[in-house]
Amino acid sequence: MNASVVRQDAPLVNATRFRQAHEADWQRLDEIVTWIEKRSIRSLSDDELLALPALYRTTLSSLSVARDTSLDRALITYLEQLCTRAYFQIYGVQTPAWRQLTHFFARGWPGAVRSLWRETLFCVALTFGAAVLAWLLIRSDPSWFYSIIPEGLAGGRDPTASAEYLRSTLYTSKGEDQNWLGAFATFLFTHNSQIAIFAFALGFAFAVPTVLLILYNGLMLGAFFAVFEAKGLAPNVIGWLMIHGTTEIFAICLSGAAGMRIGLAIAFPGGASRMDSAVDAGRTAATAMVGAVIMLGVAGLLEGVGRQTINNDGLRMLIGAAVLVGWIAYFYAWPARRTSRGD
């Protein structure tokens, strides 16, 4: 048998016919999508903006038809890639950053914190329970202090320290160098924020490490309090802790609550599937965690700058209490009013 040679003019296969009919539309969509990917959707002209949905639908139907009638794999792959890119530019568009930000402060953050109220309450109770426990233990036997606080962190503030030395650590003396307050505040902020992010992420292990982290935080708090209280410095150390501590401990409790939510959602998904439950918890918890990082920024400023410049116990306590009332009003009272207005 010989393969004979003939001449023909009509397109032989569907792909050719199809390419000829629609290639211009595909190329146009390709150009517009490439443009959006490089710049933004706002940089399109009105004509292009109007043409985009129509071109997208044309290309999508081209893909359907090509899959059913054509065997040109390169063509189908090209159309699949083009449609996917266009889909994500049309349906996956990002809300503008400023609107995401206003939504976060107006609804997202207080809403997430409010929905975590059970976990938050548990973390607060755990912190103070652990603090009281540590305090009682050290009061009965001061050697407990050394098993709770690592040596480096104590900085001489242990049960053997004198009352004068302890007092001197609470206040800034006149001659002390105050140049590094900003850097100190920044260091405290970054360090504490990293711990808040850990508390969130560790929640994945069924919340166990997060609970331990919160527990240990409470123990340290109680241990330090016990040392100062034994030397009759209770009101002084409360003022020293409160000015930033109300914000900082609240923030750590909130990030712990966020971590617990994830762990609990995975361990006990309830009616939803484990996967859906984890996703729902993960997004709420992430919002609360970002909020906690912002709170730790405020706490860093209060601790690094406020506490170093304000040496009056009453004023320190007042500031701490006022900030705490502010946070509680923002999280729990304000959004409730918004929802009751039917917003």
């Binding site: 048998m1 010989n2 393969a3 004979s4 040679v5 001449r7 023909q8 009509a10 397109p11 032989l12 296969v13 050719t16 390419r19 290639e23 990917e37 933004s40 639908r57 999508l60 139907s61 359907s64 009638t69 065997l71 040109d72 794999r73 390169a74 063509l75 090209y78 699949e80 890639q81 449609c83 996917t84 889909y87 994500f88 530019q89 349906y91 996956g92 990002q94 809300t95 997202g108 140049n179 900003g182 850097a183 920044t186 902020f189 970054t190 924020s193 990293q194 992010i197 850990f198 969130f200 992420a201 994945f204 994830i262 996703v279 918890a281 993960g282 997004r283 918890a285 992430a286 965690m289």
Partner: protein, 287 residues
């Protein structure tokens, strides 16, 4: 939007218009390479900024202006914090949904349900990196720096990291722990041009083939032949042309590429005619 049927890394993904986009998930290899590229970029930026700030500090000290150390320290601390916690999140919140590393490998982060990717989801998936990579490594680093890292601790840290690093290999959707919690996955967002039409149109001399020669193969073989023609590997062309000639009992006319493209066109037209009549022949093994 349903996501159910599975073929390798292809996932059914139906748009509101009712068309299945058949998304392709990013492979573990390209995900890992993208992450390494990002880490290298972060390290380079950190080192460059550190040296830059030290240079500025020296210049200021020569000019005898006070207080510069503190400003530099604040910038460095905040910069390092933002770099570590913001690099992935800020890039993935952008319109491309990808870090520079992912962009180089043609990857993109999308929400599994097809909805828009929210900031909360991006932050959740990246905050999880803290326990996946940074926690065990920084723990190990700190212990090693103090010279107290023992074998047990090293093994534990590596094991911990290992569980999370290889987590994507143990689930069919290649989800990282962060993806799992955030409801995201990473897809190939490849960008290729439309390659030329192999058959083409218009007046052209073509070989014709007897019907028996066109009944030899199905769609799978046709598309394999398409790959051979597009890659234009001379050895493959000679081998494939020889096989087809032998099977179809056709003489060798010395023009392998011309023979193959004509056979491709004829087979394609033949199989398409079958499609129109409702007969889809997937491969040579089905009738």
């Amino acid at each position: 939007m349903a996501t159910s049927a599975i073929h390798g890394l292809r996932r059914t993904f139906i748009t509101p218009e009712g068309v299945d986009l058949k998304l392709e998930l990013g492979s573990a290899g390209s995900r890992a390479s993208a992450f390494m590229i990002d880490l290298v970029l972060m390290a380079v930026i950190l080192i460059a900024v550190t040296f830059g700030l030290l240079y500025v500090l020296r210049a200021v000290e020569i000019a005898k202006a006070g207080g510069a150390e503190e400003v530099v320290a604040v910038i460095w601390l905040l910069g390092a914090f933002v770099l570590r916690n913001g690099w992935f999140s800020l890039f993935e919140m952008g319109s491309r949904g990808a870090t520079p590393g992912k962009r180089l490998l043609g990857l993109r982060v999308v929400a599994r349900d097809g909805a828009r990717l929210t900031g909360a989801a991006v932050i959740a998936r990246n905050a999880m990196r803290e326990i996946e990579v940074f926690l065990p490594l920084s723990f190990l680093g700190a212990q090693a720096a103090e010279g107290t890292a023992d074998t047990f601790l090293t093994i534990f840290a590596l094991l911990w990291s290992g569980i999370f690093l290889f987590f994507p290999l143990f689930n069919r959707d290649r989800l990282r722990v962060g993806d799992l919690v955030a409801g995201t996955w990473v897809v190939q967002a490849g960008k290729g041009g439309l390659s030329a039409d192999l058959v083409g149109s218009g007046y052209r001399a073509r070989r014709t083939f007897p019907p028996e020669a066109l009944k030899l193969y199905g769609i799978y073989e046709l598309q394999t032949l398409e790959d051979v023609l597009r890659t234009e590997n001379p050895d493959a062309i000679v081998t494939v042309a020889g096989t087809i000639r032998r099977k179809a009992n056709l003489p060798d006319d010395g023009d392998d590429y011309g023979f193959l493209s004509d056979y491709y066109a004829a087979l394609c037209a033949h199989l398409e005619a079958g499609l129109m009549a409702g007969r889809r022949r997937e491969s040579k093994f089905v009738e």
